[in-house]
Symmetry: C2
Subunit: 122 residues, 2 copies
């Protein structure tokens, strides 16, 4: 392996942990739930179901998946289960994407540097 990629590999460890977050966001219904929860305070399962095309039971499962990924948090109040957005994990996912983008930017910069340093290569 080239020494150039080794530094990047060291920083990849935390990146792998974010895969479950992306998996949780990788469903249209769940992504919609997260988006909806981020616009408000707390919502009951019945309220959240109104904005989807699936049954209440399906929404419950999606919320459990999101909770497993740490993207939402639920609390019981009386007879209803209230859910709210949890921003920390989403921020982590954002940082992962930024990391990948930055690697790509560095790669482009290195390529440009190389071209300008050796303009008469042929």
């Amino acid at each position: 392996m080239s020494p150039k990629t080794r530094d990047a590999d060291k920083r990849k460890a935390p990146l792998a942990d974010t895969a479950p977050i992306f998996a949780a966001l990788g469903d249209e219904t769940r992504l919609g739930l997260v988006a909806h929860l981020a616009t408000g305070d707390t919502f009951s399962i019945a309220q959240l179901t109104e904005n989807t095309f699936v049954t209440r039971q399906a929404v419950t499962r999606h919320l459990e998946v999101l909770a497993q990924a740490g993207l939402v948090r639920g609390t019981r109040r009386g007879r209803e289960h209230l859910w709210q957005f949890e921003p920390a994990r989403l921020a982590l996912a954002q940082r992962s994407l930024e990391q990948i983008s930055s690697w790509w930017d560095e790669k482009l910069a290195a390529l440009k540097e190389k071209v300008e340093t050796e303009p008469d290569t042929k």
Copy 2:
């Protein structure tokens, strides 16, 4: 539905399109492939397989999934299939997360505003 959330709903349409991107990134092996590809130029399937824990055939499938999501692009050169990172879709995913974050920030700002406007509510 409250008029407050309706504006947000209008902007949710493009957000739903990003779910497949997150789904593609939601696998540890695939996320690793994307990260690796973003650090360099092009890599063959055999090269990419070295950094994974699965077989070459499995890597091929993962690359096809990533290509379907528009995150990578492959071209044939001689007997090898070279793959490279495609930054556009990842940038789109980034914007989705930023959008959700911004909704959350707006919500917090609105909450704070409300508290300061009605400090003696009890």
